[in-house]
Amino acid sequence: MSDNLKISRDKKGNNKKGKDGSTSNPLDNLQGRLVIILFMIIIAFAALFFKIFMLQRSKSKEYNQKILSQQKYDSRDIPYKRGDILDRNGTYIATSEKVYNLIIDPKQINSDQEDYLNATVSVLSEVFGYSIDELKSTIAQKSDSSYVKYAKDISYDQKIAFEEKKEEYNKSYKESKSSERVYGIWFEESYVRRYPYGSSACNVIGFANNEDLSGNSGIEQYYNDQLIGVSGREYGYLNDESSLERVIKNPTDGNKVVSTIDLNIQKIVEKHIAEWQSSTGSNMTAAIVMNPNNGEILALATSRTFDLNNPRDLNNYYSPEQQAEMDDKAKVDALSNIWRNYAVSDTYEPGSPSKVFTVASAMEEGVITGNESYDCKGFEEVGGWKIRCANRNGHGVLNVTEALMESCNVAMMDISRAEGSQKFYEYQKVFGFGSKTAIDLPGEADTSGLIHTADNASATDLATNSFGQNYNTTMIQLAAAYSSVVNGGSYYQPHVVKQILNSKGAIIENIEPELVRETVSAHTTAFINEALRRTVAEGTGSAAAVAGYDVGGKTGTAEKYPRGNGNYLVSFIGSVPAQAPEVVCYVLVDTPHVADQARSAYASSLFSKIMTEVLPYMNIYSNVDESIDVSKFPAAEGITDSNTQKQEESKNYSTEEVIPNDGGNGLPGAPAGEGEE
């Protein structure tokens, strides 16, 4: 206000000047009086400003409290319903159930304690079984409040039961001319999130916190903006007669999300993973089933499951004693580890399945035609390192198809050398390694720093990369890239959601398959598909065979860091039918709990078990007559004959290792230059 005073002083000065100038002018008088009025106006302004200041100083706390308290009483939020999540067949896999909070209004009850208190409390105790003493003490303690949330999660039936009892009592009080009434109780709507299938598809669905209804991991997090709605509001306002009126603005419910997941396939996959985990077990077993022709994920399961209805339960992973020892941070870390979606967020060296990409890219570039032959002596020296093949005795002379069938490292090194690092890494990019697939799930790992580029790759890096060592991928990257190779060269963005519906069920958005780029030509696809078919029919992937089906696929056995500890990550990726795949399934077993881990058959046989159930379900028919089936395909028995199969395998192939890399080579691939010196 200091400037105001200045102005007025200034004005006075001017005024005096005017007076001195010409005293006879009647305006002088006016100016003098004007200054009086101006002075009064400024005093009024200053006084009002001071009044505001004082109001804030003395009443700020009190008024803020009042505002908050009436906020609850006069207007309240009406919760919206979080959108459901459905699987592709319309099965509800996540849904919001309406429940009620029991609200006691002690202020109303105390407004006529004699009439209301006993009647109300006795009905509450009768219907809900609350202790009468406790109710009374709550009402006495919070006698000024209008809003006491006494109980949560009351079902609709309980609410109706209470309301019926209340009517009944009030009626009988009325009839008996008693002034007692049940009064001052009401119910507030609320929603709880329920997952009818518990831990099923937990990594894909994620869960929503019941408190703030925000999604955590999975679709619940990624599609949170779609799933949430807008809270409604009931609020009081004054009408023309200055009486309080209530207006209800209805909430807008969230949209429904239809997933590409097929709950039946998901359950088949989960069943077999659980069986495997309980019989043999591993650090991590995971599988992805997807449609290679549009990128839709049909099932995604890992052995790291949790109950979506009780996501913070650590009992499956930690004993009560262990939990007691954990502090809050340790618990949070443990939980976030459990909630982590391995298939999207974790990276590893893919191993042999990447040989498919090495061959495909070389063929695409015309570096090989498919008729070349390679002589495998069991190892090859590259950049001063002696890199061994899976078969230490050497595969002998192989053509390209046989190199894939036998999973020969030496052939791959030769092919990649012929192709040159420039083109090899260009194709790694084309296949999407090093970049995110942009799958609609949160927490996808960024692998851009975990691969080599043509600029920084040495000859050794190129050689080891050609058979899937020394760079990291995620499961989803590999599955998407593999799908593009077997489907004729269309790289589709993998996705888990196909449709968004509004709360009434009308379609808002269809999520169309997104073709990201073309990877290979149809000719390459045909060659690869045939080679993969033979890999399963005659080569290293025989354990993956499914009776009556042409299965194409590639095994993988990658030794984990640190090398030399005997820890392996085995995998199998396959497509059915081999020549025109309709489904791709990728199974990965990390560190199987067995002495001799280096057998891809753990993954292949899991693939076979899953596909044996999934294929008929998907109406993919066997390509052979039932009658011929038994006699002509003894390989189908490979699943049961797995013992002999495995032994054979362990002798001949499946162990792809990089002998010299046992030092402290950091990922991805320590610069070979260093090793040379």
């Binding site: 400024i42 804030q56 906020q71 306002y237």
Partner: protein, 448 residues
């Protein structure tokens, strides 16, 4: 919304920079041409004042603008600073109306910008009106003062008969499909009529004979009482403003002291004793609509169910906004303050923008009033002086009464905050009045 303000301010700042450069060039010209010492001194003085206190960039650049104009058109004094202040207030008003009304508007009209859009139209029309009026020489209105007075009086009489009910009071009249409040026009009519009257009878009013002067004053009061009483039937606060405008203007237009002194003392006494008096007659059992409002004012917490609700909620809003408020759009009281975009908008402003926002708005009004007084001092023609003075009295009365009501100092009477409150007629009338002020300012000849 906050972005809008920032943008606006940034824009203004840019303009200010340019003006600064312009000014430097102009100064050179000034030295060459010489003369105009008075303006130079004024500018220096204003600069000093600015350095001491005034916070708004709006103020700064508008002044430079003025200086620049002075030098280009030596003969015309065109004062831009009030225009900037008015635009600032209108803009802030639109933002605050949106903040205060969007929720209710969405509920009632399914369009959260319902009130803002309507107000925007009136602001546009009002600005056009202001420009038109500023071009018309103000003597035009003085010549028409008698018919204007008669028409306005006739309209407030007519509204009692054919008026439309809105919010429980008959204040609206429908003319050619447009709704308006004639009582707002009465305010202008009284300003114009008083200007005419005070100049016409200035000799009598300044007569040393007390009786001659007082007789002329009583005639003026009589003329003012007619529309005042007609308005009072439905709208007490407007009638009080109408009367106070005439009271203050006549105080300036006479050398008589007695009548106004007595009047002022009487008003003070009424104000001072009304609280106890109201309580007293209430205890004696008197019940009445107007009385209830006064009771609410006397003891808002006690009578919150009888309309004290609005006052109390307004006080809560003011009291809960701290130094910088809860933030634009963050206020909670708009859900409780009925029609918060109207008379109680100042409460929302204090809640959301805090003491700072209150100071900003009050500072803007003080500056506007100060500019108007400056104009009135520079005008030689007495009729122009009275017009400007009458308008500034109207403006300040309305600001003071509005804030006084919102802060609970005066009873809740329904006075809108100029340029900021929602209301078409009020905006049109006020901007029309500003047009008159600009028209008067234009008449100032500088080459003397």
């Amino acid at each position: 919304m906050a972005d809008d303000i920032k943008k606006n301010k940034a824009k203004i700042k840019n303009v200010a920079k340019k003006e600064l450069q312009n000014q430097a060039v102009k100064r050179k010209i000034k030295v060459e041409k010489g003369g105009q010492k008075k303006i130079k001194v004024d500018t220096a003085k204003e600069n000093k004042i600015r350095k001491v206190g005034v916070k708004k960039p709006v103020v700064n650049d508008s002044k430079k603008n003025e200086t620049k104009k002075n030098q280009i058109k030596k003969r015309r004094f065109y004062d831009y600073s009030p225009i900037f202040i008015i635009l600032f207030l209108l803009m802030l008003g639109l933002i605050m109306i949106y903040s205060a009304s969007s929720y209710t508007a969405d509920l009632k009209f399914k369009n959260s910008a319902y009130f803002v859009n309507k107000q925007l139209i009136f602001v546009g029309l009002g600005l056009i009106l202001m420009i038109i009026v500023s071009i018309i020489p103000y003597q035009f209105w003085i010549k028409l003062s008698k018919p204007i007075y008669l028409v306005a009086t006739g309209l407030v009489g007519a509204v009692l008969v054919i008026g439309r009910d809105a919010n429980g009071a008959r204040r609206w009249i429908n003319l050619f499909g447009i709704k308006f409040q004639p009582s707002e026009f009465v305010k202008v009519a009284i300003i114009i009529f008083s200007s005419y009257y005070l100049v016409k009878y200035k000799n009598d009013l300044h007569s040393t004979d007390r009786k001659v002067a007082e007789k002329k004053l009583w005639i003026l009061f009589g003329a003012v009482f007619v529309p005042t009483l007609l308005v009072m039937v439905e709208n007490l606060s407007t009638s009080i403003i109408i009367f106070l405008i005439a009271f203050c203007m006549s105080f300036l237009g006479t050398s008589n002291k007695r009548l106004h002194t007595v009047g002022a003392i009487a008003m003070g006494v009424i104000l001072f004793f009304s609280k106890p008096f109201v309580k007293f007659i209430y205890e004696r059992g008197a019940r009445d609509y107007h009385l209830t409002r006064l009771l609410v004012w006397a003891e808002p917490e006690k009578f919150s169910r009888d309309g004290g609700y609005q006052v109390i909620q307004g006080l809560y809003a003011i009291g809960s906004g701290s130094l910088f408020g809860k933030g634009l759009g963050q206020g909670m009281q708009k859900f409780f303050l009925p029609e918060s975009q109207n008379d109680m908008i100042f409460a929302i402003i204090v809640e959301e923008l805090g003491l700072f926002g209150a100071g900003l708005i009050m500072g803007a009004f003080v500056f506007l009033i100060y500019r108007m007084i400056k104009i009135s001092f520079s005008v030689k023609d007495p009729e122009g002086v009275y017009l400007v003075v009458g308008i500034f009295i109207h403006l300040s009365l309305q600001v003071i009464l509005n804030i006084a009501v919102v802060t609970g100092v005066l009873p809740n009477t329904g006075v809108s905050l100029p340029f900021i409150s929602y209301g078409g007629t009020s905006i049109l009338v006020l901007l029309g009045e500003m047009g008159i002020v600009l028209s008067v300012a234009r008449s100032i000849k500088l080459d003397y």
